[in-house]
């Protein structure tokens, strides 16, 4: 039988049982594993990780060395905005053909790089190597060196064949690549109150909002590395006095490099929800130890909250008591979401990430309520299982999770990089509430078959229409 009426008829793969955990169960929890073959993981590949992290560096050329698919599936799919150059929104590829796969693609890469650089005059070039390139052993580094010499434009290899691991290993490769730009720019006029924002992707202009908070209270933002990023900003970002790291998964490595080599301290922050945003601003202000700065920070927070808190109230009333499931890329986002949902009176009953670390999950376990299921590197079947089991009202995830929710008559909020609505900062929290309420409180759910069956209090098995049973039947 291929259709599932009870969640218990979806089984978690043996290889994965330790990656599914329920608060209060006392069971052991495992993460940081490579995905089981055949598990239909929601994860992408290492290349994907590096591409998405470096994508927002808008005035650099990004070229994918490999067959076409890897490049084209990445073409302008992210909502990261640029205030100027749109070069990053293109998809450049060496589009290897069979003969290059056999005889090597170095020549084509070199020719491609030189002509693209001459045509687009980028500030720098990132060259991503994909699985095939890792396999046929092209010396990408050497090509980059040659082209740098010939064109004067710095070409940087991003060593990220997909099979090297999950997105996380791609993040690492991206950090290494970005770091090659650091340290070459002039830092003489950087303020003593200055920061870099790391791991803020400027989805729908969020980095612009956040930047304003800091500028308003007198802190200079040297570089928003991964959101509306610029090559020249990266070159001088070592002159900043503090690093604020948002997406910890992607950018911790770069901030570590900056700590080790330039002694720049780092703080993990989040700009999602009132609480976290305020805390992030205070963290920065506190770091510089200037009472005037702190006073201005408090004023800003007070102002913003008084502006937006009343708007939240109406949403809170409507959303109170609803149950949410979330499955996101990184763990830090998950923490913030749990808190933000709580602020809206909602309960998180399922929380999972693609790439959380043991440390991340410890923290996640702590902030979740008893009974919450926590999953690592999950897949559509498992997610569906828990959506049914916990009877959730709202799912928060990305494109790949959306149909799981919708097919089962569950509201959905896109909290991934494709979205077009800014959800960060104080203002963003109102957008978030609105987004969630618009879906969760939509009248359309009354027509969803699963909801309808419930409303009529039919036993689940009977609720299955004969048609669905017939068509879905495998055996």
């Amino acid at each position: 039988m291929n259709s599932v009426n009870t969640p218990s008829s979806i089984r978690v793969l043996d290889d994965r049982t330790a990656q599914v955990w329920e608060k209060g169960s006392g069971k052991e929890f495992v993460c940081d594993k490579k995905s089981a073959a055949g598990s239909v993981t929601q994860r992408a590949c290492a290349f994907c990780g590096s591409r998405v992290v470096l994508y927002p560096i808008a005035d650099a050329l990004h070229i994918v060395h490999g067959p076409i698919g890897c490049a084209v599936y990445n073409w302008d799919i992210r909502g990261s905005l640029s205030s100027g150059s749109q070069l990053n929104r293109n998809s450049f590829s060496t589009d290897l053909a069979e003969k290059e796969v056999i005889f090597g693609g170095e020549k084509k890469l070199k020719a491609s790089l030189i002509e693209l650089i001459n045509f687009y005059k980028p500030k720098a070039a990132f060259v991503y190597s994909t699985c095939i390139v890792g396999l046929i052993g092209d010396d990408v580094e050497a090509v980059c060196k040659q082209v740098t010499k010939e064109t004067g434009i710095q070409c940087i290899q991003v060593d990220s064949p997909g099979f090297k691991g999950t997105k996380k290993s791609g993040y690492q490769a991206a950090c290494e690549a970005a770091y090659k730009l650091v340290g070459t720019g002039d830092t003489s006029n950087i303020s003593k109150y200055s920061i870099n924002l790391l791991g803020e992707f400027n989805i729908a202009g969020e980095a612009w909002m956040i930047r304003q908070y800091f500028e308003k209270i007198g802190i200079e933002v040297v570089s928003t590395i991964t959101g509306d990023g610029r090559v020249d900003d990266l070159r001088r970002c070592h002159g900043a006095k503090l690093n604020l790291v948002q997406c910890s998964g992607s950018m911790t490595h770069l901030s570590k490099l900056l700590k080790d080599d330039y002694d720049i301290p780092m703080e993990r922050v989040s700009f999602f929800g009132f609480e976290d945003t305020a805390r992030a601003i205070y963290t920065a202000a506190e770091h510089f130890g200037d009472p005037e700065l702190m006073r201005r920070a408090e004023e800003l927070v007070r102002e913003e909250i008084s502006k937006y808190a009343p708007k939240l109230k109406q949403y809170k009333k409507r959303l109170k008591g609803k149950k949410a499931a979330l499955y996101v890329g990184g763990a830090f986002k998950a923490f913030s979401l749990v808190l933000a949902l709580r602020a809206l009176g909602m309960k998180t009953v399922l929380a999972g990430t693609q790439t959380g670390s043991a440390e991340d999950y410890e923290q996640l376990k702590e902030i979740c309520d008893p009974g919450t299921v926590i999953v690592d590197d999950s897949n559509p079947l498992e997610l569906a299982k828990f959506v049914l089991e916990k009877d959730v009202d709202l799912f928060i995830g990305g494109v790949k999770e959306r149909p799981i929710a919708f097919k089962l008559g569950v509201a959905f909020c896109d909290h991934n990089h494709e979205r077009k609505i800014p959800l960060a900062g104080f203002e963003g929290m109102v957008h978030f509430a609105e987004e969630v309420a618009n879906s969760a409180c939509s009248p359309i759910w009354q027509f969803a078959p699963r909801r309808q069956a419930k409303a009529l209090r039919l036993p689940e098995a009977e609720a299955t229409t004969p048609l669905a049973r017939e068509e879905g039947g495998a055996a």
Binding site: L13, C70, V72, N90, T94, Y120, L135, K164, A468, A474
Partner: protein, 469 residues
């Protein structure tokens, strides 16, 4: 917000100045997708089938993501999740384990195995691995069908047609019987609505149709009252098995016409099933050809309903001809769709001044010339094209309208002309699955879309606007 935001209006589609020698080595904004995507799409059109990509997991995830964004339906594609070691030592172990896991979780009726660039390049012997797996399990478990899809040898269209061929080869049973009321339809990469309409048309001719693939309900299904591990619907393997006894096969797509290795050619050679190779039934002339073939196969005249639809379509052409006639269009996408659209444009008096496809198509020029009236001397015909080449041609030739996937949006925006979305992928609109374009009825819908897009463009850019035609 006080931040300066670049004025996108001043930018070209690729965000750059346009002077200087155009890059020729690199592909800039490809006008194609990779082969396994086409295969996965076909597998999604088979009942109870789970697509399985042998290679690294990124490829499968990307393809899923792409298809989900277009169809807005669950698309589960498994992968053998190669790690570095597997890339070096071969993926046999991962394959077996992956298949095990898929069977345990999904209980599929069929597993459609497609290779990726990686597994092709390391030379994994797929057939051997499948056999080994099946031997080890004494033939228990669902059948596995294999299609070889290295992306560096073709595009998603190639993957699509190859997968159909492999399915036919794997499952069609020898038979001596011919069932005169049975027809095989082998469609191209069309919308769900198109596939549904083809089925409806067959019914009008009182023919029993096996449509391979048929993802019309797996990729556009109803809301679920219970969870389906694999979306319900699709062509059953039993029906595929019977395809050898059909009266005829209609294979859709101009590029398939001369292909001796196509699925329908194979059916003809091995099982004596007559083959009609036709273009997409889009526009009056190509639809006429399709219906003529249906009439011949079924020995039935054109049903009244269709004749009525044809009449209404001609009437629609008449009503709106002035607003489209003399206009110039740029068309891009899958080769077979582009040829059919060019034919359609040219029969309504729109000159298809640019016809572009990302695939390298043999005799692409001739194919188009066969459907475009008045020669192709003034037409930019681009095979193996990317969007940068398409954009350069469009800047030069200044078409009035673009037809193609949502990937044409940046160009349409730059040139301030309308984009009529058709093909795959459509990621910035709702309802791509429901857009009907084939047959008289589909043509009428498409015609209205084209005419209205042109009118809307004119309205939007006129000084005062107008509210009456």
């Amino acid at each position: 917000m006080s931040m300066a935001k670049g004025n996108p209006d001043t930018l070209t589609a690729d965000g750059c100045k346009t002077e200087g020698a155009l890059p020729a080595s690199a592909t800039r904004n490809a006008c194609k997708l990779c082969t396994p995507l086409g295969a996965a799409m076909v597998f999604k059109g088979i009942r109870g089938c789970l697509p399985f990509l042998h290679g690294s997991q990124g490829c499968a995830t990307y393809i899923r993501r792409y298809m989900i964004s277009h169809f807005r339906e669950p698309v589960d594609i498994a992968s053998s999740s190669f790690s570095e070691d597997d890339a070096i030592f071969g993926g046999a172990r991962n394959f077996a384990q992956g298949v095990d896991n898929v069977i345990r979780q999904y209980e599929p009726e069929l597993i459609g195995v497609a290779t990726t660039c990686l597994s092709e390049t390391i030379g994994d012997n797929m057939l051997g691995m499948i056999k080994e797996y099946q031997d080890k399990h004494n033939g228990d478990g669902p059948p596995l069908v294999h299609v070889s899809t290295p992306a560096y040898t073709g595009t998603h269209s190639d993957g699509y047609y190859s997968a159909i061929r492999e399915l036919v080869k794997a499952f069609v049973k020898p038979t001596r019987i011919t069932q005169p009321r049975m027809v095989n339809i082998l469609p191209a990469m069309m919308s769900c609505a198109d596939l549904r309409h083809l089925r409806e048309i067959c019914a009008m001719y009182e023919m029993d149709a096996t449509i391979l693939p048929d993802y019309s309900s797996t990729l556009e299904g109803s809301s679920w009252d219970c969870y389906h591990k694999i979306s319900p619907g699709g062509t059953s393997i039993e029906d595929v098995a019977e395809m050898g006894s059909a009266a005829a096969s209609i294979e859709i797509g101009h590029t398939q016409a001369g292909d001796k290795n196509s699925a329908a050619s194979w059916l003809e050679r091995e099982h004596g099933v007559r083959r009609d190779a036709l273009g997409w039934p889009l526009g009056i002339r190509l639809s006429d050809q399709f219906f003529a073939a249906m009439a011949a196969i079924s020995d039935r005249p054109m049903p009244e309903q269709l004749a009525d639809e044809r009449g209404r379509l001609v009437d629609a052409y008449v009503d709106a001809h002035k607003y489209v006639s003399g206009k110039r269009a740029a068309i891009f996408g899958e080769p077979d769709m582009v040829v059919a659209l060019a034919a359609f444009m040219s029969e309504i008096g729109v000159r298809p001044v640019i016809c572009a496809t990302g695939a390298k198509v043999k005799k692409w020029k001739e194919l188009l010339a066969s459907e475009i009236e008045g020669g192709t001397a003034d037409i930019e015909i681009l095979s193996d094209s990317d969007h940068a080449k398409l954009a350069a041609a469009a800047r030069e030739l200044k078409p009035d309208i673009i037809l193609g996937s949502s990937k044409g949006y940046p160009l349409a925006r730059e040139l301030k002309i309308p984009l009529v979305r058709i093909g795959f992928p459509i990621h910035d609109r709702i309802g791509a699955q429901r857009m009907l374009s084939v047959g008289y009825r589909g043509t009428m819908e498409l015609f209205d879309r084209v005419a209205n897009a042109l009118l809307e463009g004119k309205q939007d850019f006129s000084e005062t606007g107008y509210s009456y035609l």
